[in-house]
Symmetry: C2
């Protein structure tokens, strides 16, 4: 099968959903064509704002995402959504389908929603996520929402992938001390206590604000340029508090631009992405080196320690 | 501080617990001295049998481990235990202390128990685990039990680190289909349904046996050499079924020796370990390359795609 990547990218840029879906499939499959796709996209990226949204299971991430999408549509913006699904490292399949999430926005050309499996990442971001973001960016979406289940590591990853990170909590699930323990205070640009009609919403919000006032996120700037993460309340299932969330996302976007923090975050992200790809390339070369089996024998026989063996491999590779 | 690693290793080999503890601390801290320690240990390793023990929270791992230790002590063996504790990637601290686990064996010179945090591995094995195993191996322990909470990935890792892997389940928690989904059928050399005085133990064991008869673990050998994982029942808190578990561990150890599978597993393990270290070395070199920042700028500005940038980095490194 010959694929005309240039034509596919052109059609994606015209807003054809099927072209967008096909490009994402290519990058998700890690097909050899992924390189060609990424190359063809490069010149058309950098325009979309990337919004990460994370939280524990049950805080209402999907409902909130859907409500945020509706609000941005009402403001005339095109929105892409990548929902990273937790999946077994063994099955590789997405637990939640696109269909379930699509319903409300199914007939809207200005919305593209895609579930992606988080293969081998235990709820974290798939390695394909940055490339899928590029596809949506090149396809002209103004905002790209990346939704992940928060299970520790993935929250840090979503913060790395996004310009603005929303952390969702629910009353009683995420009080301030728990949040501090889980490390989410450091990654959230905006905190949302969803299901705020439940008991304890006010005290959860208060505790969060207190914890935020005590510490400072390493990504929050300094002095006058400092961003203090707001703590908002919402009942996403009834659409309450969504306007305020979207206003806060836009305010953070303006802060990112005004302070130069946007470019800093994107530079750090690009460097991390290049690093991961480079290490992957190097790893495949290490695995292919003829000497590995022999070095393993020497280690098993106690004639060599594993560090010395690794030194030898690296020397072979970089000679 | 000047550390005489040779002296420390000599004292560890004489069975001095404080020397063993100190060496493990060095490898756990990832101190620069870790390389020297690993080098000094190499010639003294390869004698201990490494037993992995995994299972979901609540199946009774600690109790079973303690009972297995007692049984091996009764058989005249020295036993080291590494308990890998789940911990936040942010805190780095072990949730369960050595003290709690030590009580029963606290005054026994033939037992060494150590909790290790699983920093950044989400319940998986710490990168320091293989080196801590080396310390206990060189210190002359006949068996090393590596206990991990099973949360998916870590189960696969414990199987990779061990010669023999025990998978613990409890009635109603781990029926056959769940076990198959979680991928544990592939990694268990021995299955133990603990808390077998509870309802459903027989049906859980029966289902497991059925699932095992349907599939075959990729590490189980073929034909006459084939190892069929036994499914045992125990009530570890009362010491019931422990003799049978230890007999099964020993039988599997003999099978590993007789078939040459032991060496195959250890070669694969050493190769994986060298690979991880080599990739780590390469990664640190990539991060240190002067060109990365500039490449990141080109990527952010859409003038280069990240794959081309990574190619350029790798070319610099391997030129």
């Amino acid at each position: 099968m010959t694929v005309d990547v240039g034509d596919l990218v052109a059609r994606a840029r015209e807003g054809q959903p099927r072209a967008v879906a096909r490009l994402i499939s290519y990058v998700e499959d890690g097909a050899p064509i992924m390189r060609e796709v990424t190359h063809a996209l490069a010149a058309h990226t950098g325009h979309a704002r990337i919004i990460g949204l994370t939280g524990s299971p049950g805080v209402g991430k999907s409902t909130t995402t859907s409500a945020i999408v509706s609000e941005y549509r009402a403001r005339g913006k095109r929105v892409g959504v990548l929902a990273i699904d937790p999946s077994s490292p063994f099955s590789g399949g997405a637990l939640l389908g696109d269909r379930v999430r699509m319903q409300e926005h199914a007939t809207d050309d200005g919305v593209f929603i895609r579930s992606m499996a988080s293969r081998g990442h235990l709820g974290g971001l798939s390695w394909a996520t940055p490339q899928a973001i590029r596809v949506l960016d090149a396809a002209g979406f103004d905002l790209i929402l990346v939704e992940t289940v928060g299970v520790g590591q993935s929250e840090v990853e979503v913060a790395g992938a996004a310009d603005t990170t929303l952390v969702l909590l629910a009353p009683g699930m995420g009080d301030g001390i728990q949040a501090a323990k889980a490390g989410i205070l450091e990654i959230g640009d905006i905190f949302v206590v969803n299901k705020a009609d439940r008991d304890g919403a006010d005290s959860t919000a208060r505790e969060l604000r207190h914890m935020i006032s005590l510490g400072s996120g390493p990504r929050s700037g300094t002095g006058e340029d400092r961003w203090t993460p707001p703590v908002l309340k919402s009942v996403a299932s009834r659409g309450e508090g969504i306007t305020e969330i979207v206003d806060a996302i836009d305010a953070h976007g303006e802060w990112l631009m005004a302070t130069g923090e946007l470019r800093q975050r994107r530079l750090a992200r690009a460097a991390a992405e290049i690093d991961v790809i480079a290490v992957g390339l190097l790893r495949s070369r290490v695995g292919a080196l003829a000497g590995l089996d022999q070095l393993a024998q020497l280690v098993v026989d106690g004639q060599l320690d594993p560090y010395a063996a690794a030194d030898s491999l690296v020397a072979d590779l970089t000679r």
